[in-house]
């Protein structure tokens, strides 16, 4: 296979042949190539279709600023859309496809859009698809969606691993060109802890693309030697393939290291990418500069590129974009490209310079004039040049370099709302005065465009930020050419001169936007889409700003730039997620009985981060209701056991422990006797219920507070707030012991009989009545805690042991309870039994309900101050028609009473204005044989027996119900006191 455009030299390893495929066709390239350079070496200029008009496009740049050459890299689950061919490192077996084409890349059916370009101007979508209104959702949007977008996703799970990591340093250096390398050498030699990061796979930046020398070496050799010295410093960490994506607050930088993007499949144990969080005291930004194009008629044909990119392909990658090249320039840099290409033996058809004072050359013709049009449907063939005397010259070429000057890469200087400053001699923005804390900018990023300037700037920056004493190190001699440039943005009189090739925005679109009244640069961006998408206008924004300034009669700095935001380049969601995906999205907490529950066939449900047994499926049970009904009936008729470890537990100790509980609970705790437990309701300061639970007093100065599973964390946080911020001198200490104790509820008429077999104390009704608590021992000496509390409404106990004994205890309970057919029950049965009993949970304490709503208004003590007590007495929260928690049951007992449905008067209208309340919890009660629900109903306590309509117009529910007491089972509480 012949690489017809491959030259001699360059920084590629021609001894290694790498095979790859583009659009199904096989090619070869070398180690050190990018996909773009390898395609160009093989004579492939056409790499994609444009976003809107489906114009044939080739590569524009040789770096991450690339707007055009976006490909779909790899296949199968590793398929990766919108990957810049200019940064994709070539590897053996690489497979890539072009994007945004209907049919083949050469014959794209959607190229018809190009014919209608007069209609598809800025704001086309806003203007055209306004009517008929109903067409948007069903007709326009689906069509536009299909036609728009670039690459596609595989919709398969990404098989690779992404990691997150944390790094700390004294100095972070962003960019490893001349300034970055010199800064790193200076800092590294001083012993400072340095990180040097560059997005490229080789350090050196532009030094790898140039032919001049530094000292006695070529620039690339100097860079390699600098890297070799840096590698010898233990205090310097070199990070290639690492993009700093953002400068965040207080010296925190985000960095994406592409560990395995340059291989087909990551090596075993290696992540694909790592998202680093770098903490640094100081930063040297040495991000270089990006060359900008010039807008002229049909300046988007494959083969028309940035001049510096053509130079990079020739010098670094040993690739001639074409054998015959011209340059269109407004500054001396275009001449440098021509000289380098000439030295490589390429034919320079001409250097077209807009300036009257352009330097002349012995080696090639320099024309004063402008490129006014180009030809070549799928790649450049001719350009028309209008000379300063008005004559037209046609050049027969396959590549045209555009050199419009360089923009310092100020992106990262603006991440903390900094604004760049205009530099007249560069005709570009340079970093402003307000930089992220600790940042200093050096080299081309700071407007020092020569190599000597960059080396000096890098060394100086490192010395300044690190406060190094002593004299400036001796720097090698290097190129130090001045900037000679005449600002020139676009050729007048063009109908289709492209500014933003990624979004197909032309000079005309910017003019149209101005004409239609968009004056702010941010509006221009949104209306025309200039500077959007994957490249964020790295090569296009300046041209747009310049034209906008001209139209508005302002200067470019008056127009200003749009805001630069992280990330600097597109960042994979996978890198942001790291390992937090799928099953590992958040931590999974297992209860001590988890392994045992698995053995019992438990089906689990996530409750917060906890996995709780939802029900235990027995052989032959085919529907969850069968299991749940069995568990409920068995518990109410004999005994059941449930893991309640997940409930929050807070240990409260100190002389003021009772006073403290009096503050956080609306009801009183000061008089609670030692050895007793009490139900407590916590309010927020606005009088709304926060959480409920029980608190048991184990000693005068020692309470155990329990919270609901979901609120364990917020309630603990709230308790610490009350302790530290409101009552700082209370003698009270708190600690969460949720994980320290395994706790089981044993409920049902046989619960005491079962317990007596395993515990060492007397738990008869006389010795241990309802609401007792105690430190006890079980199984001949193991310390445990016993609470006689009941959520199910049955005779019940909760027993807690240190977590390590949780598994042993559940097995012991099952063994001891075998004679009573002890039945494990899950959260569903727990829910059924508490609804039957009328106990509130999170469904009722839903952040909108007060003690009054919950039927507990008498609990709010007037004898003491507590959080929320004052505002709970507000008039508005004590209206006669306030919602009140009640029970509902269907008149036709075969009907459901779905939770979330609303109650309406039986004979009134069904609308929001006549809403009477809503069902919060509902279930099928196996004990009653029909559905039941808990509901908040206006003035509910006075409406027992009333017939109402339960409706949900959205889901078609319309059921006749009766309002009943919320206590469906044992309303007198005889069972739990048995």
């Amino acid at each position: 296979m012949i690489q017809k455009n491959r030259l001699e030299g360059g920084q590629i390893d021609t001894a290694t042949l790498l095979k790859f495929k583009f659009d199904g066709k096989s090619y070869v390239g070398h180690e050190g190539d990018t996909l773009a350079s390898a395609l160009l070496a093989n004579g492939v200029r056409l790499m994609g279709r444009s976003f809107k008009y489906h114009r044939p496009r080739g590569v524009l740049s040789a770096g991450s600023e690339e707007p055009n050459a976006l490909v779909q890299l790899r296949s199968g689950a590793r398929q990766e859309p919108n990957t810049r061919a200019t940064t994709a490192e070539l590897f053996d077996g690489l497979v890539a496809k072009s994007q945004n084409r209907f049919g083949s890349l050469r014959f794209d059916a959607m190229a018809i859009n190009d014919r209608f370009s007069n209609f598809l101007t800025a704001g086309f979508y806003y203007k055209t698809f306004m009517w008929p209104k109903t067409f948007w959702e069903k007709v326009y949007e689906p069509i536009i969606r299909k036609a728009a977008g670039l690459g596609s996703l595989s919709l398969l799970d990404d098989p690779d691993v992404y990691d997150k990591g944390f790094l700390y340093c004294n100095l972070l250096i962003i960019g490893a060109g001349p300034a970055g390398l010199m800064a790193a050498l200076t800092a590294g030699r001083s012993g400072a802890n340095v990180i040097l990061a560059d997005e490229d796979f080789t350090f050196g930046g532009r030094l790898n693309s140039e032919t001049f020398s530094i000292g006695d070496d070529s620039s690339a050799v100097w860079a390699a030697e600098a890297v070799a010295e840096l590698s010898s410093f233990p205090n310097v960490r070199l990070m290639v393939r690492t993009t700093i994506i953002g400068a965040f607050d207080h010296g925190i930088y985000g960095a994406v290291e592409r560990v395995s993007d340059h291989v087909a499949i990551p090596d075993a144990g290696k992540p694909r990418q790592i998202m680093w969080r770098i903490y640094t005291q100081r930063t040297v930004l040495a991000a270089g500069a990006i060359e900008r194009p010039i807008a002229f008629e049909n300046n988007d044909r494959p083969g028309i590129m940035l001049g510096s990119a053509i130079r990079t392909y020739a010098n670094r990658f040993a690739v001639a974009v074409d054998k015959s090249v011209a340059i269109f320039t407004n500054n001396d840099d275009g001449h440098r490209t021509a000289a380098d290409l000439h030295a490589k033996g390429l034919k320079i058809a001409a250097v077209v310079d807009v300036r009257a004072n352009a330097p002349l050359s012995m080696d090639f013709e320099v024309l004063q004039g402008q490129v006014i049009n180009t030809k070549g449907r799928l790649g450049l063939t001719f350009v028309d040049v209008k000379l300063s005397d008005g004559t037209i010259r046609t050049l027969d070429i396959g590549a045209l370099g555009m050199s419009g000057g360089w923009n310092p890469n100020v992106h990262m200087t603006c991440h903390q709302r900094g604004r760049p400053r205009w530099n007249e001699s560069l005709a570009a923005f340079v970093p402003g005065d307000t930089l992220p804390n600790g940042m200093i900018v050096a080299g081309a990023a700071n407007g020092d465009m020569s190599t000597a300037g960059a080396l000096h700037g890098g060394a100086q920056a490192a010395r300044v930020v690190l406060g190094l004493k002593g004299s400036m190190p001796k720097l090698p001699t290097a190129e130090d050419a001045p900037i000679r440039l005449t600002p020139f943005w676009y050729v007048e009189g063009c109908s289709r001169a492209w500014l933003d090739q990624q979004n197909d925005v032309t000079v005309k679109d910017v003019k149209l936007s101005h004409q239609e009244g968009f004056r702010s640069v941010e509006h221009l961006k949104r209306y025309t889409t200039l500077g959007m998408s994957t490249d964020q206008g790295k090569t296009s924004n300046m041209g747009g700003l310049a034209i906008m300034a001209e139209l508005a009669g302002k200067t470019i700095p008056e127009v200003g730039t749009t805001i630069f935001r992280p990330p600097y380049t597109p960042t994979a969601i996978g890198a942001l997620a790291g390992r937090n995906r799928g099953q590992d999205f958040h931590p999974k907490r297992l209860t001590p009985s988890h392994k045992w529950a698995l053995e019992q066939g438990a089906v689990f449900v996530e409750v917060g981060n906890w996995m709780r047994a939802q029900w235990f499926q027995k052989d032959g049970e085919t529907h969850w209701r069968e299991s749940v009904d069995r568990e409920v009936l068995a518990t109410r008729s004999s005994v059941g056991v449930c893991d309640v470890t997940t409930l929050g537990k807070v240990d409260v100790q100190g002389m003021d422990a009772a006073n403290f509980l009096n503050k956080i609970y609306c009801n009183g705790f000061a008089k609670l006797a030692v050895g007793k437990t009490r139900y407590g309701l916590m309010l927020r300061e606005d009088g709304i219920a926060l959480d409920d639970g029980t608190a048991g007093r184990l000693a005068n100065d020692h309470f155990i507070v329990t919270t609901t599973t979901a609120n364990a964390l917020p309630v603990y946080r709230h308790m610490e707030f009350v302790r530290q911020c409101l009552f700082p001198d209370m003698d009270v200490q708190l600690i969460s012991t949720t994980e320290a104790w395994a706790q089981y509820a044993i409920a049902g008429p046989n619960s005491r009989n079962l317990l007596e077999k395993i515990i060492d104390q007397d738990v008869s009704n006389g010795a241990f009545p309802f609401m007792s608590c105690a430190n006890i021992t079980i199984c001949n000496g193991l310390r445990a805690r016993l609470f006689r509390i009941s959520f199910s409404g049955e005779l019940a106990f909760e027993i807690a042991v240190p977590t390590a004994y949780g598994d042993a205890l559940i097995r012991k309970i099952m063994e001891a309870g075998a004679e009573f057919d002890v039945t494990p029950y899950g959260t569903e049965a727990l829910g059924v039994m508490r609804i039957e009993k009328g106990h509130a949970t999170g469904n009722e304490l839903n952040g909108t309900t007060s003690a009054l709503n919950l039927g507990m208004e008498r609990m709010v003590s007037e004898a003491k101050d507590s959080i929320g007590s004052i505002l709970s007495r507000r008039k508005g929260m004590n209206r006669a028609d306030a919602l009140f928690q009640m029970g509902v049951k269907p008149l036709d007992l075969s009907d459901d009473v779905p939770a979330g449905s609303h109650l309406m008067n039986a004979d009134g209208p069904v609308d929001a204005a006549h809403d009477q309340g809503y069902v919060t919890s509902a279930c099928y009660s196996p004990n009653l044989g029909h559905a039941i629900g808990l509901a908040f109903i206006k003035n509910g306590s006075n409406r027992i027996g009333e017939k109402m309509r339960l409706v949900s117009p959205l889901t078609g529910v319309d059921v006749a119900v009766e309002i009943v007491s919320p206590h469906f089972i044992d309303p007198q509480g005889e069972r739990l006191r048995a």
Binding site: G251, Q724, I870
Partner: protein, 95 residues
Amino acid sequence: MIINHPLLGQRDSSEFTYLGDAKLIERPDPDSETATHDFYKYAYLRDNPAGWHKELWFHEAGDRSWLVVTRNTLTHEISKVEMARDVAREKGRRR
């Protein structure tokens, strides 16, 4: 952001939970004649300054201290970090 914890030194803000205005420390006197109105203001009214703001942060993934952090809401600059308990005592809060 990095919060310079008075006891533990510099900690990443991801270890903390944010609550809001440090005025929440100044819980009104429940026995005052104007208690209802005072509590209404305490519970619902907050300044939302563009600039310096004293706010409460809880070191949830750390030592469980409530801190009063003086932060500029425009620049995220943090000028002062105090233990909320000390601030509460300075404001005369006791038992």
